[in-house]
């Protein structure tokens, strides 16, 4: 895709390999499979307009959230907006650069540690960005999980009961909110989390 200008240089590739979790497994695919960083760069360049697809420009360019949402891997994910906001480093948090995109793929890759996955999962679920999951965060989370429409949501009493149960099970210090350590403690009890918190490009 694109001319030779859209290929990543070897030094840059090596640096990305050292700093992210990508490519350790993909590199074993040998000549048939390209390293995941190069694949990610190709996909990212596809989102940019034609005139900005050279290597220098693509590393500086930023892509708006709507365009990221058009990626097939994120299109059907109800958390796509939160994911993009968490990884975005722009001041208004409404666009992703290529390195933000790599960060996203790295955290969601196969070899990322459960520690870092649970850290970012916490930030994604923290809808109001206050550092804890309070009742509103949890209720918004459950609504995301159960579906978009009005008829697919849980009733108010079920929601209250569910959130009470969740807090009962995970809020160890009984302050009414779940902070990062409590969240990570709950996650550590589920070995399926690392497996389901994956996006494959």
């Amino acid at each position: 895709m694109g001319g030779s200008g859209s290929r990543l240089s070897k030094e840059l590739l090596a640096e990305y390999q050292d700093l992210t979790f990508l490519t350790k497994q993909e590199i074993l695919l040998g000549p048939t499979g390209s390293p995941a960083c190069a694949r990610a760069h190709r996909r990212f360049c596809e989102l940019l307009p034609l005139e900005r697809r050279s290597m220098e420009e693509s590393l500086q360019a930023r892509v708006s959230l709507e365009q990221i949402f058009s990626l097939p891997e994120l299109k059907a994910n109800p958390f796509r907006e939160r994911i993009c906001r968490v990884f975005s480093t722009s001041p208004a948090r409404d666009s992703l650069s290529f390195e933000d995109f790599l960060d996203l793929l790295s955290v969601f890759s196969d070899t990322a540690t459960p520690d870092i996955k649970s850290h970012y999962a916490f930030r994604i679920f923290d809808f109001d960005d206050d550092g804890t999951l309070n009742r509103e965060d949890l209720s918004q989370l459950v609504n995301c999980l159960t579906g978009e429409g009005e008829d697919t949501r849980l009733s108010a009493s079920e929601m209250k009961q569910l959130i009470d149960n969740i807090l009962e099970e995970s809020d160890i210090d009984r302050d009414g909110t779940i902070n990062l350590s409590e969240f990570q403690h709950v996650i550590s009890r589920s070995p399926d989390f690392a497996n389901s918190f994956k996006i494959v490009l």
């Binding site: 480093t89 948090r93 870092i116 206050d130 995970s170 160890i172 210090d173 070995p191 989390f193």
Partner: protein
């Protein structure tokens, strides 16, 4: 920037050195101090420097706080309180860069100082507040972010390079920040102050070795799996159906790897060598008709595929025994190859490698999937961990939403039910129904077993003539039909009983099907080794058993294809057109059991047909494509919640325990106890297959002790039973110790939870006290602006925890 709460010294603290041993008195006086402070604060007015919101991604969120709900209810805290709360360490770690850097700094320090005790200086914040910390800073290690960063870089420079990269990769910072840290680390202005001495070197070496071996293991495993280029197919399946259906295909890939591992030594040491030195042909070679592909006989009988083809002599001998007793001149560079010995040892080594890999794989996935106390917290785990981000199609995503909603409702209903007590009568009734259903299922199993037994006896009574080889397919046909029909009966019976949890239903169904299959195979093994050996004394019975297993495998494959066709394609056509039910579900449990059954057949037959793993590999490859096509065209994802990692553990354990163990027992019995036939095969002149090994060891013994230590090992460790008892006793002791350790850990976890909830109560108490202090301040401030009409009121509510 930290907030500093200026507390003026009270007179009673002057001139006294508090010691940590009078902690109880300290607490008492601290309580008094707080009370006096709250009075003093209202009169003198407190200075508070407004807290800047945490650096990094948080933005102005602290200002937009919603009301903090305490455990009692609905009071809204003032902005000042909220600002302080927003800077609490437990909240900033989730969002601010400075907090992350400081957390990783302390982790790195702990990594380097693993052997030594933590210094007392670092305990300031976590210890109980003592009056040593007069200036009650809210953040006692109040370093700015820049200083923290410099400290972190210094610590990282002290680590070995591999560990440094590992730590850097695992930090939840953005790529640009990690690059900055790396740049700073690269400019070493001075030598890293690594810990000199043996301990630091050893731990560094150990860590490097552990990382290297972990990487190597990961690389090998993924290399083995990456050899088969199904990456996009699996991604598509995962995207459309989720992780649970994907686990079936991943298990198929694992089985392919196992079979390849089994086949390689056999190809190298048996098939290859025997093909290079073919024996003299026994008789006229029959022509190839298509029936051989089904029955395995005919043209295939006298080939490298079966046991009977292998010679019982030493191949490539430098000289044959000269008849006149003269000396023989050895040819140049020829290696004699003792075929019987090679046969025995290769099969043994292949089984041993498979056993080792299976047990390692099982223990690894068990270690990953079992957690202490994982049965608790189902609601939280469902909400936090059940969304599968691999799903990429809109329809599948909606289905996942439906599944999760159903699961949450079921969890809530189950929780309600468990709260309400059930009557003894209801429990007794449920137990009776359960017992009845189990009895019926076991009865069906017994019926199938008796059917197979009588049919096999009938086949022995009336032997099949040589030209009607197709009739040999009758017994495998009966077995396959029973294996196909009985699970439907089980499913019908299972509709009678109602389990509390849907996962238990699946496990029970898997159990019943497995019992049926294992019992049927057991009867067949008895039939072969017990009755066929006696019936075929003057023929090559090993070839016959190998062919029977080949027939079973092929027919099993054909029935699987038919089942896929009828069960999925035809069902979908019927249910969509006529009944309007939607697509059928992909039955994971039944499909996995079929895979396990096929693998058991392979392991049973390896001794008698060394090329059987190759047949299994071809079968698995074809099965992958057929199942994938049928899945994508005809099925939908299962509605039941499936814990993929638990399932993987269950599959591998089922593969190991009944199946591999049974195959190993069968192999051992055939090698040790059964007399090989005298007409064919590498052991035709011996009393048992194991004797080939014994003969060799005796020969080594006669040659003298300086030739080899093997006879000694054989006499004292293999033939002697004492070492086996000793090893078993040691193993039992180790298992018992591990159980005790786990029990102890559970106790510690419970104690720590209690301690944390006590700390939480302290926190609530302090938050409320803070709130009341600021409330009074605001009220007194407001009162003062209204010309100080009323005197400052006493604190109205003491919300002591």
């Amino acid at each position: 920037m930290a907030s500093v709460l200026d507390v003026p010294e009270t007179p009673e603290d002057q001139g006294r050195e508090p010691s940590p041993y009078d902690e109880s008195e300290m607490h008492q006086s601290f309580h008094l101090l707080i009370q006096e402070q709250s009075q003093g604060a209202a009169e003198e007015g407190l200075e508070l420097q407004p807290q800047a919101p945490g650096a990094g991604a948080a933005g102005a969120s602290a200002g937009n706080q919603q009301a903090l709900l305490g455990p009692e209810g609905a009071t809204a805290h003032s902005m000042a309180t909220l600002r302080i709360l927003a800077s609490m360490p437990s909240r900033t770690i989730g969002r601010s860069r400075g907090a992350i850097i400081s957390q990783y700094y302390s982790r790195t320090v702990r990594l380097r100082r693993r052997a030594s005790r933590p210094q007392l200086r670092g305990l300031g914040r976590s210890a109980r507040p003592s009056l040593r910390l007069y200036d009650l800073e809210l953040d006692s290690t109040a370093l700015a972010e820049e200083e923290k960063r410099v400290l972190l870089v210094k610590e990282l420079q002290g680590l070995p390079v591999a560990q440094r990269d590992h730590v850097l990769r695992g930090m939840p910072l953005s790529l640009a920040e990690k690059r900055c840290l790396r740049e700073e680390m690269r400019s070493p202005s001075r030598r890293p102050r690594g810990r000199p001495g043996l301990l630091g070197c050893c731990s560094r070496l150990r860590y490097a070795c552990a990382l290297a071996s972990h990487d190597l293991g990961l690389g090998l495993l993924s290399g083995l799996q990456a050899l088969v280029p199904w990456h996009y197919a699996l991604k598509r399946i995962g995207g459309q159906f989720g992780s649970s259906v994907l686990s079936y295909f991943l298990f198929l890939k694992t089985l392919l790897a196992f079979n390849a591992l089994l086949l390689l030594p056999l190809l190298a040491f048996l098939v290859g060598v025997q093909t290079a030195f073919p024996p003299a042909p026994q008789g006229p070679v029959p022509t190839f008709t298509g029936l051989e592909l089904l029955t395995g006989g005919g043209r295939f009988t006298d080939t490298v595929m079966y046991y009977g083809y292998y010679s019982n002599a030493t191949l490539n001998q430098p000289c044959a025994d000269p008849p006149d007793g003269g000396q023989c001149t050895p040819e140049a560079a020829s290696l004699p190859y003792n075929m019987p010995l090679a046969y025995l040892f290769t099969i043994g080594a292949a089984f041993f490698i498979t056993c080792f890999t299976l047990v390692y794989s099982m223990s690894h996935s068990f270690g990953e999937s079992y957690r202490v106390g994982s049965a608790l917290g189902a609601h939280a785990i469902t909400v936090f961990c059940s969304w599968d981000h691999k799903v990429t199609q809109k329809r599948a995503s909606r289905l996942q939403c439906d599944n999760i909603r159903t699961q949450l409702k079921e969890l809530l209903a189950e929780w309600q039910l468990r709260r309400g007590h059930r009557s003894a009568c209801g429990r007794l009734r449920r137990a009776a129904v359960l017992a009845l259903v189990w009895l019926l299922c076991l009865g069906i199993t017994l019926g199938c077993t008796v059917a197979v037994y009588t049919f096999s006896e009938h086949m022995i009574e009336s032997p099949v003539p040589a030209d009607r080889e197709g009739a040999l397919l009758a017994l495998p046909l009966v077995v396959c039909l029973l294996n196909l029909g009985a699970p439907y009966l089980y499913r019908g019976l299972a509709a009678l009983e109602r389990h509390d949890s849907p996962v238990l239903e699946v496990y029970v169904a898997v159990c019943r099907n497995l019992i049926l299959k294992m019992v049927t195979l057991g009867i067949l093994c008895y039939h072969w080794l017990g009755r066929r050996v006696a019936a075929l004394q003057d023929q090559c019975w090993e070839n016959f058993v190998g062919q029977e297993l080949y027939r079973l495998m092929v027919l099993d494959f054909i029935f699987t294809l038919l089942d896929t066709l009828c069960g999925e394609l035809v069902w979908r056509l019927i249910s969509e057109r006529r009944l309007g039910w939607g697509k059928p579900e992909f039955d994971i449990a039944r499909n996995v059991l079929e895979l396990i059954y096929g693998q058991t057949l392979t392991w049973l037959g390896v001794l008698f047909s060394p090329l059987l793993p190759a047949v299994q590999i071809i079968k698995l490859l074809l099965l992958f494509y057929v199942k994938k096509a049928s899945l994508l065209a005809n099925c939908q994802a299962p509605r039941r919640p499936w814990l993929a990692s638990h399932m993987r553990t269950v599959f591998i354990s089922l593969l190991c325990f009944p199946c591999f163990l049974g195959a190993a027992i069968f192999l051992c019995y055939a090698v040790w106890q059964v007399k090989p036939s005298s007409l064919c095969g590498p052991f035709r002149s011996l009393d048992s297959m194991y004797e080939a090994g014994k003969v060799w060891v005796r020969r080594l013994e006669r040659a003298g002790p300086q030739v080899s230590w093997l006879p000694w090992v054989h006499r004292y460790l293999v033939e002697n039973t004492f070492p086996v008892y000793l090893l078993s006793a040691l193993l039992l002791a180790v298992i018992y110790l591990n159980i005790q350790v786990v029990k102890g850990q559970r106790k510690v976890i419970r104690l720590l939870k209690e301690q944390i909830s006590n700390e939480g109560e302290d926190k609530i108490f302090l938050i409320n006290k803070l709130h009341s202090v600021y409330e009074r301040k605001e009220r007194s401030g407001a009162g003062r602006t209204q010309e100080g009409a009323a005197p400052p009121a006493r604190p109205a509510d003491h919300r002591a925890a």
